[in-house]
Symmetry: C2
């Protein structure tokens, strides 16, 4: 049984920004796609979980980026489960370019959500899943706690049709797009994002009014909070170099 799987993706024009480079949001979308295929092909994918009214939910993600692929480049995403605890599991990623150089790496934390009770289910109840734990760490480092932000209001928006995914809440990728939109093109011309961290805290729904707060704790190192009127939806960090 293979525990680490690799998938090749071509970077299409819709995934690149004004400089022709893969966006952070599109890279995370491809990571989610690789995770989905890996789970699907091994009997613990979304469709299998849906059969007993459960779903995978990503809670935290850390992404380190050394260099950005361009339009029409091919990248290889390898993914594996690092460890499995009763409530959460760690999934890691390694991203290589066509020359086999590591251009990015990521680690992420997931729960299996019981869709009826909106609570995590015990992962050991997922037959055969525990055999996938490899113990292999990510070079992206560990998932650290992100602290509350008391910063400036960087953006405000309301949740629309195109933000909502099949689970009925705002898609996890959209949060990343919103955060990256807090910077002008001039910043992206001068700098690049080398580290991205996100910690999902609560769901967002249609027509909610959202505020995004930003605090530059150190030069080029920004911490964020996305909140609706009553609570924090996520905390995040974007580090430029």
């Amino acid at each position: 049984m293979e525990k680490e799987f690799s998938y090749i993706f071509k970077i299409y024009p819709s995934s690149v920004d004004f400089q022709g480079k893969l966006t952070v949001a599109s890279l995370v979308e491809l990571l989610m796609e690789a995770a989905g295929r890996h789970a699907d092909e091994n009997g613990f994918g979304m469709r299998q979980l849906n059969e007993f009214n459960a779903s995978w939910v990503v809670l935290r993600l850390v992404l380190e980026i050394n260099s950005y692929p361009a339009q029409y480049d091919e990248i290889k995403i390898s993914t594996w489960i690092e460890k499995i605890q009763s409530i959460k599991t760690i999934r890691n990623f390694c991203i290589e370019n066509a020359q086999g150089e590591v251009i990015a790496s990521a680690t992420s934390e997931w729960i299996m959500m019981d869709l009826a009770y909106r609570k995590p289910k015990n992962l050991f109840s997922l037959q055969g899943f525990k055999d996938f734990a490899t113990g292999k760490e990510s070079t992206a480092g560990r998932l650290e706690k992100l602290h509350p932000v008391k910063g400036e209001l960087a953006d405000r928006l309301s949740v629309k049709y195109s933000d909502i995914d099949i689970n009925g809440h705002v898609n996890s990728i959209r949060y990343i797009q919103w955060l990256c939109n807090c910077f002008d093109l001039s910043i992206y011309r001068e700098k690049k994002i080398v580290r991205f961290e996100i910690h999902y805290l609560s769901e967002l729904y249609e027509n909610e009014e959202i505020k995004i707060f930003r605090e530059e704790k150190e030069k080029n190192d920004f911490y964020f909070e996305i909140a609706n009127n009553t609570k924090t939806a996520c905390r995040a960090r974007i580090k430029f170099i």
Copy 2:
């Protein structure tokens, strides 16, 4: 030489809406992708045009949709050039499901833009291109003129980083997402879009403040105008059934 090309696409989770159906914006994105591949594989793609500082620009699109594919479905997009005039060319599409049933069709009008002068170039200067004209019409009907709209303000927004593509202006797909976002989820639960038309009139850039006007000319038949402070960026139509 093949003049009509077909491409298979799988519908990934990132392309579906809250009901698990392919969105209109994502469908058009796939049409653009098919058009790009067809052009690329036959020597008149973006990369070839870029060599003499030109680019393809879509001016108008009409899309008829009979039924929507779901997440993980495969669809076949066939595309061909209907005709070529000195300044513009008509490209058509036929979209089939895995059972070979036609689920949608589209027609579109393009120019080859001279990037130095921001003016159309003569298409007969594109070597070998005229041999691709097939004369074959689309079942989506003709590209009709869209008239000015004097409707209600349906939305307002400002152009952000993620809206800008490699040409430095707002991506043509983003306009479609903005238009579809003018309706609540409740509308999509009850109805489906059966016809979508768009006529691109002028480019939009970073930080521009945009207004979207909407007029329901007949029941379930909406006409739109997207405008910045000085001019109309596009006119469009969304018909539900």
